[in-house]
């Protein structure tokens, strides 16, 4: 099954998760992350988000990071699904799951994938709030989160 999917339709985390475990009993740990559109941020109420992406590169870049994760941790499976287009609060923006025999690999790999997806995968968010639309600015803390993994270490560095 496809490890990476980009879709303009609602994401169902349960359905995406099932595909990682169905019909196999070697999986001992599943970590599933859902990033969800909130209804407010520091600047006020959010009406909607619109996600733009670079077709082709988005899939390729995420796939490269999944391969990197598989080289670092003994994963049995990984899956990332990213929503594009217009999204309203409560809907899932991104789903990322990893399976392994043991929990630590699954936890670390899922967090690694999300840190890199945030800073390296070509998606851009525009937020509609109080009638105005604004592009979301990249956050330094996301760059810092990704940098924790840079030293080729299997475990991320302490802060």
């Amino acid at each position: 099954m496809m490890q990476v999917r980009i879709t303009d339709q609602p994401i169902d985390p349960a359905a995406e998760t099932v595909a990682l475990t169905r019909g196999r009993s070697d999986v001992g740990a599943l970590v599933a992350f859902s990033g969800i559109c909130r209804d407010s941020e520091d600047s006020g109420k959010i009406t909607s988000l619109t996600l733009e992406h670079y077709p082709g590169m988005a899939e390729a870049e995420i796939s490269r990071h999944i391969e990197e994760a598989k080289a670092r941790w003994p994963l049995l499976g990984a899956r990332i699904v990213h929503r594009v287009g217009r999204i309203v609060p409560g809907e899932v923006i991104v789903f990322a799951a990893c399976t392994s025999k043991h929990r630590m690999a699954a936890f670390e790999a899922a967090e690694f994938l999300m840190d890199f997806l945030k800073t390296r995968a070509p998606f851009w968010k525009k937020v509609e709030s109080a009638g105005a639309e604004n592009w979301v600015e990249a956050k330094e803390k996301d760059d810092n989160a990704a940098a924790r993994w840079e030293r080729g270490a299997k475990r991320k560095a302490a802060e």
Binding site: Y54, M57, A60, V94, L117, R120, F123, W124
Partner: protein, 83 residues
């Protein structure tokens, strides 16, 4: 050369992609940004803060000093904010 623009760069330039005839002196991504800046008001506005602009050649991230000679397409975009 095929150039793609995303997010607010696309909005400021006013198009998602275009084919641009590049002079031989434009050898790197940084050269390309400087060249595009001179193409008119909308480009000057789009590239006014060149150091925040990211680039990908043939769908792979590159640095400003990357040579563009063998590129099929070059994408220019702001820092990514997905996930």
């Amino acid at each position: 050369m095929k150039i793609l623009y995303f997010a607010w760069l696309r909005e400021r330039v006013g198009k998602a992609e275009e084919d641009v005839e590049l002079p031989a002196s434009v050898k790197t991504v940084a050269d390309l940004l400087r060249f595009l800046t001179g193409r008119g008001e909308e480009y000057a506005h789009a590239f006014e803060n060149a150091k925040v602009i990211r680039a990908a050649i043939d769908k792979v991230h590159v640095k400003p000093d990357a040579p563009i000679a063998n590129a099929r397409e070059i994408a220019l975009f702001p820092p990514m904010t997905g996930g």
